[in-house]
Symmetry: C2
Subunit: 286 residues, 2 copies
Protein backbone atom coordinates (compact mmCIF):
# COMPACT_ATOMS: atom_id res chain seq x y z
CA UNK A 1 0.00 0.00 0.00
CA UNK A 2 1.14 3.54 -0.60
CA UNK A 3 0.78 6.25 2.00
CA UNK A 4 -2.64 7.41 0.79
CA UNK A 5 -4.03 3.88 0.71
CA UNK A 6 -2.68 3.25 4.21
CA UNK A 7 -4.30 6.42 5.51
CA UNK A 8 -7.67 5.41 4.01
CA UNK A 9 -7.41 1.99 5.69
CA UNK A 10 -6.56 3.63 9.03
CA UNK A 11 -9.47 6.07 8.78
CA UNK A 12 -11.81 3.25 7.93
CA UNK A 13 -10.52 1.21 10.89
CA UNK A 14 -11.00 4.22 13.18
CA UNK A 15 -14.55 4.77 11.94
CA UNK A 16 -15.32 1.11 12.55
CA UNK A 17 -13.82 1.21 16.05
CA UNK A 18 -15.85 4.33 16.82
CA UNK A 19 -19.08 2.76 15.59
CA UNK A 20 -18.42 -0.33 17.72
CA UNK A 21 -17.64 1.82 20.77
CA UNK A 22 -20.90 3.75 20.32
CA UNK A 23 -22.88 0.52 19.97
CA UNK A 24 -21.26 -0.93 23.11
CA UNK A 25 -22.11 2.24 25.05
CA UNK A 26 -25.67 2.83 23.83
CA UNK A 27 -26.74 -0.56 22.41
CA UNK A 28 -27.89 1.23 19.26
CA UNK A 29 -26.26 2.29 15.99
CA UNK A 30 -24.09 5.40 15.92
CA UNK A 31 -25.69 8.46 14.33
CA UNK A 32 -24.89 9.21 10.71
CA UNK A 33 -21.59 10.99 10.23
CA UNK A 34 -20.23 9.85 13.60
CA UNK A 35 -17.42 10.28 14.33
CA UNK A 36 -15.78 13.31 12.76
CA UNK A 37 -12.56 12.09 14.40
CA UNK A 38 -11.54 9.25 16.68
CA UNK A 39 -8.57 8.60 18.95
CA UNK A 40 -7.22 6.48 21.80
CA UNK A 41 -8.49 8.79 24.55
CA UNK A 42 -12.07 8.64 23.25
CA UNK A 43 -11.78 4.85 22.88
CA UNK A 44 -10.50 4.57 26.46
CA UNK A 45 -13.34 6.67 27.86
CA UNK A 46 -16.15 5.03 25.91
CA UNK A 47 -15.18 1.53 27.03
CA UNK A 48 -15.23 2.51 30.73
CA UNK A 49 -16.80 0.13 33.18
CA UNK A 50 -16.41 -0.12 36.93
CA UNK A 51 -13.94 -2.76 38.16
CA UNK A 52 -14.52 -4.40 41.54
CA UNK A 53 -12.18 -7.42 41.39
CA UNK A 54 -8.42 -7.05 41.27
CA UNK A 55 -5.28 -9.06 40.67
CA UNK A 56 -2.89 -9.39 43.66
CA UNK A 57 -0.60 -6.66 42.33
CA UNK A 58 0.28 -3.44 44.15
CA UNK A 59 -0.22 0.04 42.67
CA UNK A 60 3.23 1.65 42.85
CA UNK A 61 3.94 5.04 44.43
CA UNK A 62 5.08 6.30 41.01
CA UNK A 63 1.77 5.30 39.50
CA UNK A 64 -0.11 7.00 42.34
CA UNK A 65 1.97 10.15 41.75
CA UNK A 66 0.99 10.10 38.07
CA UNK A 67 -2.70 9.76 38.96
CA UNK A 68 -2.58 12.65 41.41
CA UNK A 69 -0.64 14.79 38.92
CA UNK A 70 -3.46 14.14 36.43
CA UNK A 71 -5.99 14.99 39.15
CA UNK A 72 -4.24 18.25 40.01
CA UNK A 73 -4.14 19.13 36.32
CA UNK A 74 -7.94 19.22 36.16
CA UNK A 75 -9.66 22.58 36.35
CA UNK A 76 -10.38 23.97 39.83
CA UNK A 77 -12.64 26.93 40.49
CA UNK A 78 -10.53 30.13 40.66
CA UNK A 79 -7.48 27.89 41.26
CA UNK A 80 -8.72 27.46 44.85
CA UNK A 81 -7.76 23.74 44.82
CA UNK A 82 -10.45 22.83 47.33
CA UNK A 83 -9.75 19.12 47.54
CA UNK A 84 -7.29 16.57 48.86
CA UNK A 85 -7.03 12.82 48.55
CA UNK A 86 -6.13 10.26 51.22
CA UNK A 87 -4.46 7.11 49.87
CA UNK A 88 -5.22 4.08 52.02
CA UNK A 89 -3.29 0.82 51.64
CA UNK A 90 -3.36 -0.46 55.24
CA UNK A 91 -5.50 -3.59 55.29
CA UNK A 92 -7.10 -2.89 58.67
CA UNK A 93 -7.99 0.68 57.74
CA UNK A 94 -9.46 -0.52 54.43
CA UNK A 95 -11.48 -3.11 56.36
CA UNK A 96 -12.90 -0.43 58.66
CA UNK A 97 -13.68 1.89 55.73
CA UNK A 98 -15.26 -1.01 53.85
CA UNK A 99 -17.58 -1.58 56.79
CA UNK A 100 -18.45 2.12 57.02
CA UNK A 101 -19.21 2.16 53.27
CA UNK A 102 -21.87 -0.52 53.54
CA UNK A 103 -19.66 -3.61 53.67
CA UNK A 104 -18.44 -3.31 50.11
CA UNK A 105 -15.91 -6.14 49.77
CA UNK A 106 -13.97 -4.41 46.99
CA UNK A 107 -12.98 -1.56 49.34
CA UNK A 108 -11.10 -4.12 51.39
CA UNK A 109 -9.82 -6.09 48.41
CA UNK A 110 -8.56 -3.21 46.26
CA UNK A 111 -4.81 -2.71 46.74
CA UNK A 112 -5.39 1.05 46.82
CA UNK A 113 -8.38 2.92 48.22
CA UNK A 114 -8.53 6.67 47.65
CA UNK A 115 -10.79 8.95 49.66
CA UNK A 116 -11.46 12.22 47.83
CA UNK A 117 -12.26 15.04 50.22
CA UNK A 118 -13.61 18.57 49.93
CA UNK A 119 -10.94 20.56 51.71
CA UNK A 120 -11.29 23.99 53.32
CA UNK A 121 -8.81 23.27 56.12
CA UNK A 122 -5.84 24.35 54.00
CA UNK A 123 -7.45 27.74 53.33
CA UNK A 124 -8.57 28.05 56.95
CA UNK A 125 -4.96 27.62 58.05
CA UNK A 126 -3.89 30.29 55.56
CA UNK A 127 -6.69 32.58 56.74
CA UNK A 128 -5.79 32.17 60.42
CA UNK A 129 -2.11 32.76 59.67
CA UNK A 130 -3.05 36.01 57.89
CA UNK A 131 -5.72 36.99 60.39
CA UNK A 132 -8.18 37.11 57.48
CA UNK A 133 -11.87 36.13 57.30
CA UNK A 134 -12.98 33.03 55.38
CA UNK A 135 -16.73 33.41 55.76
CA UNK A 136 -17.58 32.19 52.26
CA UNK A 137 -17.00 28.69 53.56
CA UNK A 138 -20.24 28.98 55.52
CA UNK A 139 -22.35 28.96 52.36
CA UNK A 140 -23.88 26.16 50.29
CA UNK A 141 -21.73 27.44 47.40
CA UNK A 142 -18.67 26.21 49.33
CA UNK A 143 -20.12 22.71 49.35
CA UNK A 144 -20.71 22.87 45.59
CA UNK A 145 -17.18 24.16 45.02
CA UNK A 146 -15.69 21.35 47.10
CA UNK A 147 -17.79 18.58 45.50
CA UNK A 148 -17.15 19.81 41.96
CA UNK A 149 -13.42 20.35 42.50
CA UNK A 150 -13.05 16.88 44.02
CA UNK A 151 -15.04 15.23 41.24
CA UNK A 152 -13.14 16.91 38.39
CA UNK A 153 -9.86 15.83 39.96
CA UNK A 154 -11.01 12.28 40.68
CA UNK A 155 -12.37 11.71 37.18
CA UNK A 156 -9.00 12.67 35.72
CA UNK A 157 -7.32 10.26 38.14
CA UNK A 158 -9.61 7.40 37.14
CA UNK A 159 -9.12 7.95 33.40
CA UNK A 160 -5.36 8.26 33.97
CA UNK A 161 -5.47 4.98 35.92
CA UNK A 162 -7.36 3.27 33.12
CA UNK A 163 -4.82 4.55 30.60
CA UNK A 164 -2.18 2.69 32.65
CA UNK A 165 -4.15 -0.56 32.68
CA UNK A 166 -5.78 -0.16 36.10
CA UNK A 167 -9.47 -0.27 36.82
CA UNK A 168 -11.61 1.09 39.60
CA UNK A 169 -14.95 2.13 40.98
CA UNK A 170 -16.31 5.17 42.80
CA UNK A 171 -17.59 4.53 46.34
CA UNK A 172 -20.38 6.92 47.35
CA UNK A 173 -20.83 4.72 50.43
CA UNK A 174 -18.29 6.76 52.37
CA UNK A 175 -21.09 9.32 52.72
CA UNK A 176 -23.10 6.81 54.79
CA UNK A 177 -21.06 7.68 57.92
CA UNK A 178 -19.12 10.90 57.22
CA UNK A 179 -18.10 11.59 60.82
CA UNK A 180 -16.71 8.09 61.33
CA UNK A 181 -14.82 8.28 58.03
CA UNK A 182 -13.46 11.67 59.13
CA UNK A 183 -12.30 10.19 62.45
CA UNK A 184 -10.66 7.22 60.70
CA UNK A 185 -8.73 9.52 58.36
CA UNK A 186 -7.96 12.19 60.96
CA UNK A 187 -9.76 14.82 58.88
CA UNK A 188 -9.65 18.25 60.55
CA UNK A 189 -12.68 20.57 60.65
CA UNK A 190 -13.45 21.89 57.16
CA UNK A 191 -12.61 18.59 55.44
CA UNK A 192 -15.23 16.02 54.45
CA UNK A 193 -15.13 12.88 52.31
CA UNK A 194 -17.08 13.26 49.06
CA UNK A 195 -16.54 9.76 47.68
CA UNK A 196 -14.02 6.94 47.68
CA UNK A 197 -12.36 5.15 44.78
CA UNK A 198 -11.09 1.58 44.65
CA UNK A 199 -8.13 1.07 42.32
CA UNK A 200 -6.19 -1.98 41.18
CA UNK A 201 -5.27 -4.12 38.21
CA UNK A 202 -8.48 -5.74 36.91
CA UNK A 203 -9.02 -9.44 37.46
CA UNK A 204 -10.23 -10.61 34.03
CA UNK A 205 -12.30 -13.25 35.82
CA UNK A 206 -14.76 -10.50 36.84
CA UNK A 207 -16.01 -10.49 33.25
CA UNK A 208 -17.98 -7.23 33.30
CA UNK A 209 -18.54 -5.01 30.30
CA UNK A 210 -19.66 -1.42 29.75
CA UNK A 211 -23.18 -0.70 30.99
CA UNK A 212 -25.47 0.91 28.41
CA UNK A 213 -26.48 4.50 29.13
CA UNK A 214 -29.60 6.48 28.31
CA UNK A 215 -29.93 7.42 24.63
CA UNK A 216 -27.87 10.52 24.03
CA UNK A 217 -30.97 12.50 23.04
CA UNK A 218 -32.24 12.14 26.63
CA UNK A 219 -29.31 14.03 28.16
CA UNK A 220 -28.16 16.30 25.31
CA UNK A 221 -30.43 19.30 24.74
CA UNK A 222 -30.08 22.03 22.13
CA UNK A 223 -30.61 25.67 23.13
CA UNK A 224 -33.28 24.76 25.69
CA UNK A 225 -34.11 21.80 27.89
CA UNK A 226 -36.86 19.41 26.73
CA UNK A 227 -38.48 17.02 29.22
CA UNK A 228 -41.42 15.52 27.36
CA UNK A 229 -39.37 13.62 24.68
CA UNK A 230 -37.46 11.84 27.48
CA UNK A 231 -40.46 9.66 28.35
CA UNK A 232 -40.11 7.66 25.13
CA UNK A 233 -36.31 7.61 25.33
CA UNK A 234 -36.42 6.22 28.87
CA UNK A 235 -38.85 3.54 27.68
CA UNK A 236 -36.52 2.44 24.89
CA UNK A 237 -33.59 2.51 27.34
CA UNK A 238 -35.51 0.29 29.75
CA UNK A 239 -35.59 -2.40 27.04
CA UNK A 240 -31.89 -2.10 26.18
CA UNK A 241 -30.66 -2.08 29.74
CA UNK A 242 -32.77 -5.12 30.57
CA UNK A 243 -30.94 -7.06 27.86
CA UNK A 244 -27.71 -6.02 29.58
CA UNK A 245 -28.97 -6.96 33.06
CA UNK A 246 -30.00 -10.38 31.72
CA UNK A 247 -26.54 -10.96 30.27
CA UNK A 248 -25.01 -10.11 33.68
CA UNK A 249 -27.51 -12.20 35.66
CA UNK A 250 -28.74 -9.03 37.37
CA UNK A 251 -32.29 -8.17 38.39
CA UNK A 252 -34.04 -6.21 35.65
CA UNK A 253 -35.57 -2.73 35.18
CA UNK A 254 -33.68 0.54 35.36
CA UNK A 255 -36.92 2.28 36.28
CA UNK A 256 -37.45 -0.14 39.16
CA UNK A 257 -33.90 0.38 40.37
CA UNK A 258 -33.90 4.17 40.32
CA UNK A 259 -37.34 4.43 41.93
CA UNK A 260 -36.21 2.09 44.71
CA UNK A 261 -32.92 3.94 45.13
CA UNK A 262 -34.54 7.40 45.40
CA UNK A 263 -37.83 6.47 47.08
CA UNK A 264 -37.16 8.27 50.33
CA UNK A 265 -34.88 8.72 53.34
CA UNK A 266 -34.99 4.99 54.12
CA UNK A 267 -33.38 4.24 50.74
CA UNK A 268 -30.40 6.57 51.28
CA UNK A 269 -28.29 4.19 53.44
CA UNK A 270 -27.84 6.85 56.12
CA UNK A 271 -27.27 9.74 53.77
CA UNK A 272 -30.58 11.40 54.62
CA UNK A 273 -28.55 12.97 57.44
CA UNK A 274 -25.66 14.05 55.22
CA UNK A 275 -26.46 17.70 55.77
CA UNK A 276 -26.15 17.32 59.55
CA UNK A 277 -22.89 15.42 59.08
CA UNK A 278 -21.42 18.16 56.91
CA UNK A 279 -22.48 20.74 59.48
CA UNK A 280 -20.75 18.74 62.22
CA UNK A 281 -17.61 18.67 60.06
CA UNK A 282 -17.51 22.43 59.58
CA UNK A 283 -19.78 23.23 56.64
CA UNK A 284 -22.79 25.37 57.49
CA UNK A 285 -24.26 25.15 53.95
CA UNK A 286 -26.24 28.38 54.44
CA UNK B 1 18.91 0.72 15.46
CA UNK B 2 17.61 -2.73 16.30
CA UNK B 3 14.32 -3.28 18.08
CA UNK B 4 15.82 -3.29 21.58
CA UNK B 5 17.79 -0.09 20.97
CA UNK B 6 14.67 1.55 19.54
CA UNK B 7 12.64 0.57 22.59
CA UNK B 8 15.30 2.00 24.93
CA UNK B 9 15.24 5.28 23.00
CA UNK B 10 11.43 5.40 23.19
CA UNK B 11 11.41 4.73 26.93
CA UNK B 12 14.01 7.39 27.47
CA UNK B 13 11.99 9.87 25.38
CA UNK B 14 8.86 9.01 27.39
CA UNK B 15 10.70 9.49 30.69
CA UNK B 16 11.97 12.86 29.48
CA UNK B 17 8.50 13.94 28.32
CA UNK B 18 7.07 12.90 31.69
CA UNK B 19 9.71 14.81 33.61
CA UNK B 20 9.03 17.92 31.51
CA UNK B 21 5.26 17.57 32.02
CA UNK B 22 5.74 17.32 35.79
CA UNK B 23 7.99 20.39 35.81
CA UNK B 24 5.46 22.38 33.76
CA UNK B 25 2.67 21.39 36.17
CA UNK B 26 4.47 21.85 39.49
CA UNK B 27 7.45 24.10 38.65
CA UNK B 28 9.71 21.64 40.45
CA UNK B 29 11.59 18.47 39.52
CA UNK B 30 9.71 15.20 39.27
CA UNK B 31 10.19 12.80 42.18
CA UNK B 32 12.74 10.03 41.80
CA UNK B 33 11.45 7.03 39.88
CA UNK B 34 8.69 9.04 38.19
CA UNK B 35 7.07 7.87 36.03
CA UNK B 36 6.64 4.13 36.15
CA UNK B 37 4.86 4.48 32.79
CA UNK B 38 3.84 7.32 30.50
CA UNK B 39 1.35 7.69 27.68
CA UNK B 40 -0.58 10.15 25.52
CA UNK B 41 -3.55 10.40 27.85
CA UNK B 42 -1.37 11.39 30.82
CA UNK B 43 0.49 13.87 28.62
CA UNK B 44 -2.81 15.38 27.46
CA UNK B 45 -4.11 15.76 31.01
CA UNK B 46 -0.94 17.19 32.51
CA UNK B 47 -0.67 19.94 29.92
CA UNK B 48 -4.24 21.15 30.56
CA UNK B 49 -4.88 24.85 30.74
CA UNK B 50 -8.10 26.80 30.36
CA UNK B 51 -8.70 28.33 26.92
CA UNK B 52 -10.74 31.54 26.65
CA UNK B 53 -9.97 32.69 23.09
CA UNK B 54 -11.10 30.72 20.05
CA UNK B 55 -10.60 30.55 16.31
CA UNK B 56 -13.67 31.31 14.17
CA UNK B 57 -14.39 27.60 13.58
CA UNK B 58 -17.57 25.79 14.53
CA UNK B 59 -17.66 22.66 16.71
CA UNK B 60 -19.48 20.06 14.58
CA UNK B 61 -22.50 18.06 15.77
CA UNK B 62 -20.44 14.88 15.34
CA UNK B 63 -17.78 16.27 17.64
CA UNK B 64 -20.41 17.28 20.20
CA UNK B 65 -21.86 13.75 20.02
CA UNK B 66 -18.40 12.31 20.73
CA UNK B 67 -17.96 14.61 23.75
CA UNK B 68 -21.35 13.67 25.18
CA UNK B 69 -20.67 9.97 24.57
CA UNK B 70 -17.46 10.39 26.59
CA UNK B 71 -19.45 12.25 29.27
CA UNK B 72 -22.09 9.53 29.47
CA UNK B 73 -19.32 6.93 29.75
CA UNK B 74 -18.15 8.42 33.04
CA UNK B 75 -19.29 6.76 36.26
CA UNK B 76 -22.65 7.83 37.66
CA UNK B 77 -23.86 6.95 41.14
CA UNK B 78 -25.97 3.76 40.98
CA UNK B 79 -26.39 4.41 37.22
CA UNK B 80 -28.92 7.13 38.16
CA UNK B 81 -27.55 9.45 35.42
CA UNK B 82 -28.58 12.57 37.31
CA UNK B 83 -27.35 15.13 34.80
CA UNK B 84 -28.09 16.64 31.41
CA UNK B 85 -26.28 19.15 29.26
CA UNK B 86 -27.73 22.03 27.24
CA UNK B 87 -25.68 22.96 24.16
CA UNK B 88 -26.00 26.63 23.29
CA UNK B 89 -24.82 28.02 19.94
CA UNK B 90 -27.34 30.85 19.44
CA UNK B 91 -25.44 34.13 19.66
CA UNK B 92 -28.17 36.04 21.48
CA UNK B 93 -28.66 33.29 24.06
CA UNK B 94 -24.89 33.11 24.61
CA UNK B 95 -24.86 36.89 25.05
CA UNK B 96 -27.58 36.72 27.71
CA UNK B 97 -25.84 33.81 29.50
CA UNK B 98 -22.56 35.68 29.31
CA UNK B 99 -24.16 38.63 31.08
CA UNK B 100 -25.71 36.36 33.73
CA UNK B 101 -22.30 34.74 34.31
CA UNK B 102 -20.62 38.00 35.24
CA UNK B 103 -20.02 39.41 31.73
CA UNK B 104 -17.45 36.84 30.76
CA UNK B 105 -16.64 37.67 27.14
CA UNK B 106 -15.55 34.10 26.29
CA UNK B 107 -19.09 32.78 26.97
CA UNK B 108 -20.26 34.94 24.09
CA UNK B 109 -17.22 34.31 21.90
CA UNK B 110 -16.98 30.52 22.26
CA UNK B 111 -18.66 28.76 19.31
CA UNK B 112 -20.20 26.28 21.75
CA UNK B 113 -21.35 26.90 25.32
CA UNK B 114 -22.44 23.89 27.35
CA UNK B 115 -24.49 24.20 30.51
CA UNK B 116 -24.14 21.13 32.73
CA UNK B 117 -27.18 20.62 34.92
CA UNK B 118 -28.07 18.43 37.89
CA UNK B 119 -31.22 16.73 36.66
CA UNK B 120 -33.97 15.15 38.77
CA UNK B 121 -36.77 16.07 36.34
CA UNK B 122 -36.24 12.91 34.30
CA UNK B 123 -36.67 10.74 37.41
CA UNK B 124 -39.61 12.85 38.61
CA UNK B 125 -41.38 12.18 35.32
CA UNK B 126 -40.70 8.45 35.72
CA UNK B 127 -41.91 8.57 39.34
CA UNK B 128 -45.13 10.38 38.43
CA UNK B 129 -45.79 7.97 35.56
CA UNK B 130 -45.39 5.05 38.00
CA UNK B 131 -47.21 6.77 40.85
CA UNK B 132 -44.07 6.24 42.96
CA UNK B 133 -42.45 8.47 45.60
CA UNK B 134 -39.14 10.26 44.92
CA UNK B 135 -38.58 11.78 48.34
CA UNK B 136 -34.83 11.25 48.36
CA UNK B 137 -34.59 14.27 46.07
CA UNK B 138 -35.47 16.45 49.06
CA UNK B 139 -32.16 15.76 50.78
CA UNK B 140 -28.75 17.42 50.59
CA UNK B 141 -27.44 14.06 49.35
CA UNK B 142 -29.42 14.64 46.14
CA UNK B 143 -27.52 17.87 45.58
CA UNK B 144 -24.21 16.08 46.08
CA UNK B 145 -25.27 13.30 43.70
CA UNK B 146 -26.26 15.81 41.03
CA UNK B 147 -23.11 17.94 41.37
CA UNK B 148 -20.78 14.93 41.37
CA UNK B 149 -22.53 13.20 38.46
CA UNK B 150 -22.45 16.40 36.39
CA UNK B 151 -18.79 17.05 37.20
CA UNK B 152 -17.59 13.52 36.36
CA UNK B 153 -19.41 13.71 33.03
CA UNK B 154 -18.18 17.20 32.21
CA UNK B 155 -14.56 16.42 32.99
CA UNK B 156 -14.66 13.50 30.56
CA UNK B 157 -16.17 15.81 27.94
CA UNK B 158 -13.44 18.40 28.40
CA UNK B 159 -10.61 15.86 28.18
CA UNK B 160 -12.29 14.30 25.13
CA UNK B 161 -12.52 17.78 23.59
CA UNK B 162 -8.84 18.43 24.27
CA UNK B 163 -7.95 15.08 22.68
CA UNK B 164 -9.65 16.38 19.51
CA UNK B 165 -7.73 19.65 19.52
CA UNK B 166 -10.37 21.81 21.21
CA UNK B 167 -9.90 23.86 24.34
CA UNK B 168 -12.26 25.20 26.94
CA UNK B 169 -12.94 26.59 30.37
CA UNK B 170 -15.44 25.87 33.15
CA UNK B 171 -17.83 28.71 33.99
CA UNK B 172 -18.93 28.67 37.63
CA UNK B 173 -20.51 32.07 36.96
CA UNK B 174 -23.77 30.46 35.87
CA UNK B 175 -24.37 29.96 39.61
CA UNK B 176 -24.50 33.74 40.06
CA UNK B 177 -28.13 33.83 38.85
CA UNK B 178 -29.46 30.24 38.83
CA UNK B 179 -33.14 31.14 38.41
CA UNK B 180 -32.46 33.40 35.42
CA UNK B 181 -30.26 30.74 33.83
CA UNK B 182 -33.05 28.21 34.43
CA UNK B 183 -35.58 30.51 32.75
CA UNK B 184 -33.26 31.12 29.78
CA UNK B 185 -32.78 27.38 29.25
CA UNK B 186 -36.38 26.39 30.03
CA UNK B 187 -35.21 24.16 32.87
CA UNK B 188 -38.16 22.42 34.58
CA UNK B 189 -38.39 22.07 38.38
CA UNK B 190 -35.74 19.62 39.63
CA UNK B 191 -33.09 20.82 37.16
CA UNK B 192 -30.39 23.35 38.07
CA UNK B 193 -27.24 24.54 36.33
CA UNK B 194 -24.06 23.42 38.11
CA UNK B 195 -21.51 25.07 35.80
CA UNK B 196 -21.03 26.06 32.20
CA UNK B 197 -18.24 25.19 29.79
CA UNK B 198 -16.95 27.23 26.85
CA UNK B 199 -15.55 25.11 24.01
CA UNK B 200 -13.82 25.96 20.75
CA UNK B 201 -10.62 25.62 18.78
CA UNK B 202 -7.90 27.53 20.66
CA UNK B 203 -6.63 30.79 19.24
CA UNK B 204 -2.83 30.42 19.60
CA UNK B 205 -2.65 34.19 20.07
CA UNK B 206 -4.02 33.74 23.61
CA UNK B 207 -0.60 32.43 24.62
CA UNK B 208 -1.49 30.90 27.96
CA UNK B 209 0.30 27.95 29.52
CA UNK B 210 -0.46 25.48 32.30
CA UNK B 211 -0.83 27.08 35.73
CA UNK B 212 1.33 25.55 38.47
CA UNK B 213 -0.55 23.69 41.18
CA UNK B 214 0.17 23.15 44.86
CA UNK B 215 3.03 20.70 45.53
CA UNK B 216 1.62 17.21 45.35
CA UNK B 217 2.49 16.57 49.00
CA UNK B 218 -0.07 19.23 50.00
CA UNK B 219 -3.02 17.36 48.49
CA UNK B 220 -1.88 13.70 48.61
CA UNK B 221 -2.04 12.16 52.08
CA UNK B 222 -1.09 8.65 53.12
CA UNK B 223 -3.36 6.70 55.47
CA UNK B 224 -4.41 9.83 57.37
CA UNK B 225 -4.79 13.53 56.60
CA UNK B 226 -1.99 15.88 57.68
CA UNK B 227 -2.64 19.62 57.91
CA UNK B 228 0.43 21.05 59.61
CA UNK B 229 2.97 20.20 56.82
CA UNK B 230 0.81 22.13 54.35
CA UNK B 231 1.84 25.49 55.81
CA UNK B 232 5.35 25.16 54.41
CA UNK B 233 4.14 23.66 51.12
CA UNK B 234 1.74 26.56 50.59
CA UNK B 235 4.60 29.00 51.27
CA UNK B 236 6.80 27.36 48.63
CA UNK B 237 3.85 27.32 46.22
CA UNK B 238 3.30 31.02 46.78
CA UNK B 239 6.79 31.65 45.39
CA UNK B 240 6.36 29.41 42.36
CA UNK B 241 2.95 30.69 41.40
CA UNK B 242 4.16 34.28 41.67
CA UNK B 243 6.79 33.54 39.04
CA UNK B 244 3.95 32.26 36.85
CA UNK B 245 1.74 35.29 37.52
CA UNK B 246 4.65 37.58 36.61
CA UNK B 247 5.17 35.77 33.31
CA UNK B 248 1.46 36.24 32.51
CA UNK B 249 1.35 39.89 33.64
CA UNK B 250 -1.14 38.96 36.36
CA UNK B 251 -1.38 40.36 39.88
CA UNK B 252 0.61 38.25 42.33
CA UNK B 253 -0.04 36.09 45.40
CA UNK B 254 -2.14 32.93 45.47
CA UNK B 255 -2.77 33.53 49.17
CA UNK B 256 -4.05 37.03 48.45
CA UNK B 257 -6.30 35.76 45.70
CA UNK B 258 -7.89 32.91 47.64
CA UNK B 259 -8.42 35.02 50.75
CA UNK B 260 -10.10 37.71 48.65
CA UNK B 261 -12.21 35.13 46.79
CA UNK B 262 -13.46 33.41 49.97
CA UNK B 263 -13.58 36.37 52.35
CA UNK B 264 -17.32 36.43 52.78
CA UNK B 265 -20.74 36.68 51.12
CA UNK B 266 -19.78 39.88 49.31
CA UNK B 267 -17.00 38.00 47.46
CA UNK B 268 -19.31 35.26 46.13
CA UNK B 269 -20.74 37.23 43.15
CA UNK B 270 -24.30 36.45 44.20
CA UNK B 271 -23.70 32.86 45.14
CA UNK B 272 -24.22 33.49 48.85
CA UNK B 273 -27.89 32.91 47.97
CA UNK B 274 -27.26 29.71 46.00
CA UNK B 275 -29.09 27.63 48.58
CA UNK B 276 -32.23 29.72 48.21
CA UNK B 277 -31.95 29.49 44.44
CA UNK B 278 -31.67 25.69 44.52
CA UNK B 279 -34.70 25.57 46.83
CA UNK B 280 -36.67 27.72 44.38
CA UNK B 281 -35.68 25.30 41.61
CA UNK B 282 -36.92 22.22 43.45
CA UNK B 283 -34.09 21.11 45.72
CA UNK B 284 -34.90 21.26 49.43
CA UNK B 285 -31.36 20.22 50.49
CA UNK B 286 -32.61 18.93 53.85
Amino acid sequence: MNVIEESVVQESAAAEAAALAWRARYHEDAPEGFPAEWNETLALMLKHHSVRRYLPREVSESTLQALVAAAQSASTSSNLQLWSVVAVRDAQRKARLSELAGNQRHVLEAPLFLVWVADFARLQQVAVDHDAPLEAQEYFEAGVLGCVDAALAAQNALVAAQSLGLGGVFIGGIRNHPEKVAAELNLPPGVVGVFGMCLGYPDPAEGVTAKPRLPQAAVLHHEQYALEPQRELVASYEQRVNDFYSSQQMAQSWVGRVLKRMAGPQSLTGRHRLRNAWEALGFKLR
